[in-house]
Amino acid sequence: MSAASELVLCTRCVLPTTFPGITFDATGLCSMCQEAPPAPEFEKIRGELRQKLEAVFEANRGKAEYDVVVAFSGGKDSSYTLMMLAQKYGLKCLAVTIDNGFIAEQAQKNLRSVTSALGIDFMLFTPAPVFMNKLYKTSATTTVHTKAALTRASSMCNSCINLINNHMVKLSIEKSIPIIAGGYIGGQVPKDSVIMTMDLDVQARFRSEAIKRYLRNFGAEAESYFGMNEEMVKRSPLRKINIVNPMLAFGVSEEQIIEEIATLGWRKTADTGSNSTNCLLNDLGIAVHFKQHQYNPYVNEIAEQVRTGLMSREEAVHKVQDIPDFSRVERQARAIGLDWNEV
C-alpha cells in the first residue's frame, strides 16, 4: 500500500491517480478539472442555485408545523446550514441529530449552543449502540455500497448517512414537513443535488431493494433503521419531499463558516481529526477506506472545494495526506469490535 504522500495528485485540484473513473492529461490535470469552468464562474452558478432554493422555500413556507427538517450533526457545515435557513431565510426549522455513540464532547455542547442561540426545536435520536457498532464493523469489512457512493464517503460514513437520511424521510412524512435539508458540501453528494424532489411512490421501488441489501448485511434489526412503514407512506398527504443541500449554493470557505457559527457559541473539536468537526469515528473510516481503496474518502469534496475556489491547494494537500495510521484509530476500532486484519 502506498503512503498518502506518495500518491500523484492532479495539478489543479488534489484528486490522486488512484481515484476511480478519472483520467489525466500530459500536464497532470485530471479529467474533472479539464471539464470544470474556472473558479470565478462558480459564483454565478451558485447565485442561480440560490434563486432556485429561495423559490422552493417560498413555495413551501408555512404549510406545516415546520417548514424544514434539518439533518444536524453539530459539525460546522450543518450548523452553518441551520443558521442560514433559520436566520437568513426565516424558515421554521426542526433540527434533528442522530447520536451514533461517537459524537465528540465539544460537538455535543455545540448541538445545544447552536440550537439554543437560534431558538429552534431540537430532537436527538439514539439508535441502539449494539446495532450501530455492528453497522460500522460490517461496513468496514463488507461491500455494502456502490462504487460511486464510495467516491463520496467511506463505507462506514455511507451507512451512517443512509440511516440518517431514512430517519429524516420518516420524520418528514410523520410531520408532513415538505423540505429536508442536509449540510452536505460539493463532492459529498452528486453535483445536481442542491435540490432534489423525492416522489414517495417512485422511491418505493428503491426502498425495497435497499432494505434487502441492509437486511442482508446488517441483520433483521436493520428494518427499524432503514425500513419504512409503507402504510404510513400511503396515508401521508405528502407525496413529494424536497431534499435540499444549501451548502452547494452558498460558496463559503471553512474559515468563514467557523467565524460565523462562532457567534452562536460553536467551538471546534480537538479530537475528531482533520476532516470532521463532530465524529470520533471519522478517522477510523478514513484509515479503513485508504487501506481498501488507496485514496482519502474526503478527497472528492476537498478537490471540489479547491476547484471552486473555496480552499487553497496547499491546505487541501495537507488534508488529503493526513491518513491516520492504525495506532491513531486503534481505540475506535476496539470500540466497534473491529480487527484491523479483517479490513
Binding site: 476511480p20 456502490t146 462504487k147 460511486a148 457512493a149 416522489d199 417512485v202 435497499a210
Partner: protein, 98 residues
C-alpha cells in the same frame, strides 16, 4: 466538456447512443460493460446487483433526459425499463424515435 453533457442537436445513431450511455455509466456510476476485467453483463439488473442506488438512479434519469432530450415519466421510472444496460439502451432508442 464531457461528451455526456453535450446537448443532442442532431439525432444520435443507435451506436452513438450506446456509447454515450456506456461512457456515462463507466465514468459517473463506475459500472463497466464489455471486454474489461470485472465487467457487468449488459442484461444484469443494476438495482438487484447493488450497482446503482437511489442517488445514482436520480442522476441517471437526469442524464438521459438532458443528453437525449427526452422526458421520462413517473410510470416509466417505476417500471423495469431502466433496470439494466440493455433495457436502458432499448428504452432510449424507442423514446428518441417517438
Amino acid at each position: 466538456m464531457k461528451s455526456t453533457d453535450l446537448a443532442t442537436e442532431t439525432r444520435d445513431t443507435d451506436g452513438q447512443m450506446d456509447e454515450k450511455i456506456r461512457q456515462y455509466l463507466a465514468e459517473t456510476l463506475l459500472i463497466e460493460f464489455g471486454d474489461v476485467p470485472g465487467a457487468t453483463n449488459e442484461d444484469e439488473n443494476l438495482f438487484e446487483s447493488g450497482l446503482i442506488d437511489s442517488f445514482g438512479f436520480v442522476q441517471l434519469v437526469s442524464f438521459l433526459e438532458k443528453t437525449f432530450d427526452i422526458k421520462i415519466t413517473d410510470d416509466e421510472v417505476m417500471s423495469d425499463a431502466l433496470s439494466s444496460f440493455a433495457k436502458i439502451r432499448t428504452f432510449v432508442e424507442t423514446k428518441v424515435g417517438q
